[in-house]
């Protein structure tokens, strides 16, 4: 019961991060600030959603897969954000 409540709190908070990240993506003025908003949604939002889903699944195997998904997205989104930022900075010069 408690884990169910925590799971839904995680899912809600994760969705909140995605909402805030999307708002930032739409409202921030330039590429770098937009990337800043986006990475929060990718990293914290997806982490919370994955944690919530792992708790709800109640299985270590599924939880492990979700953790793997999150770690891979962390690596990919971090690297891609750096590449995009470098490209954006290069364009401004």
């Amino acid at each position: 019961m408690l884990s169910e409540v925590v799971a839904w709190l995680c899912l809600g908070a994760g969705a909140g991060f995605f909402l805030a990240g999307t708002a930032g993506l739409l409202r921030f003025p330039d590429t770098l600030t937009r990337l800043h908003a986006l990475t929060k949604a990718d990293n914290a939002g997806l982490g919370l959603v994955a944690l919530g889903l792992a708790l709800r699944s109640g299985s270590w195997a599924t939880g492990g897969f979700l953790l793997l998904v999150w770690v891979l997205v962390l690596i990919a989104s971090g690297a891609l954000s750096a590449l995009l930022a470098a490209a954006a900075a290069g364009e401004e010069d």
Binding site: L72, I75, A76, A79, L80, A82, L83, A86
Partner: protein, 309 residues
């Protein structure tokens, strides 16, 4: 809950139509490429909603991922490719338009005639894969057992596409550029995992979600990432190996099919060997399609600066 499902599905359907419209109308081709990737991802969500994870996986990896990369790389290379000598002349364009319209009319007419002829008859029986054996995944069973002919032709079509591209352009591998260190680091971590994942998809494709096309897409994406990061992609870099691997899918598929004709019909496998043969064929098809996709990516992108050999 039914209402929520309906709302979600309706939203996806509307978004897909809206995206498709934007995608066709947007003047900037780069934006169109990005919209195509988003379209592919949403299509994959739609397939998931239809309880078709195999198709969703293939759509996400092939439709959104690899095809998107092909589009954007084509765009990057388009500026450097020589102008087509015959392009822009009005008479040839008019002739081409007429030919396309004629073919479209014939095909539409044929389809209407076929539909009219088949109107009173019962439809095709829905394919039922033979029960038992290692092929527990109904999608793989249908692809190899019931619709083996379609899958064979699909494999051949991708190969012929590469042959067409090879005829049009020089087939030299692209330049080894110095990539940003971040990209090199990403490829170092992710590419080995992608090769592992491709093998896993291929292996478990017999029993669960996965299969040759999904494995090929992941393998090809890994190859493209390695290429972008400046790493060698040995199976594609060697012209000799590339040609043999590209042909291997169709060759093995057809070879097994013809070899077994003595025991039955074309593309019909004896009951005891179905699992093993499926794995052999799927492995060959996966490697071939991955090789072809990376070779296509190489062929459409920006070219080497110096004159081709």
């Amino acid at each position: 809950m039914v209402l929520a499902d309906l709302l979600f599905d309706g939203l996806i359907a509307l978004l897909l139509v809206g995206l498709a419209w934007r995608l066709l109308r947007v003047p900037d081709l780069f934006q169109a490429g990005l919209l195509f990737i988003v379209f592919g991802l949403l299509t994959s969500v739609a397939w998931l909603r239809l309880h078709a994870p195999d198709v969703a996986l293939a759509e996400a990896a092939l439709g959104a991922g690899v095809t998107g990369a092909l589009f954007l790389n084509t765009l990057a290379g388009a500026g450097e490719h020589p102008e087509d000598a015959g392009s822009g002349s009005a008479p040839s364009e008019r002739w081409l338009g007429g030919a396309v319209a004629g073919i479209a009319a014939v095909l539409t007419g044929g389809l209407v005639a076929l539909l009219a002829m088949g109107a009173g008859q019962p439809g095709l029986p829905s394919p039922v894969p033979p029960a038992g054996g290692k092929l527990a995944n109904p999608v793989t069973a249908v692809l190899l057992d019931v619709r083996g002919y379609d899958t064979l032709l699909e494999t051949a079509v991708v190969w012929i596409a590469l042959l067409g591209v090879a005829v049009l352009g020089p087939d030299s591998p692209p330049p080894r550029e110095t990539a940003p260190p971040v990209l090199v680091g990403l490829a170092r971590v992710v590419v080995p995992l992608m090769i592992l994942l491709a093998g896993w998809l291929l292996w478990q494709g017999a029993a669960a979600t996965g299969g040759a096309f999904q494995a090929a897409a992941v393998l090809a994406a890994g190859g493209i990432l390695a290429r972008l990061a400046g790493f060698p992609v040995p199976p594609v870099d060697s012209p000799w190996l590339r040609r043999w691997l590209a042909a291997a899918g169709t060759a093995v598929f057809l070879g097994v099919a013809v070899a077994l004709m003595a025991a039955g019909q074309l593309l019909e496998y004896p009951a005891g060997t179905r699992g093993t043969l499926a794995l052999v064929i799927e492995a060959a098809v996966a490697v071939a399609i991955a090789t072809i996709l990376v070779a296509l990516f190489d062929a459409v992108g920006p070219r080497r600066r110096e004159a081709p050999r």
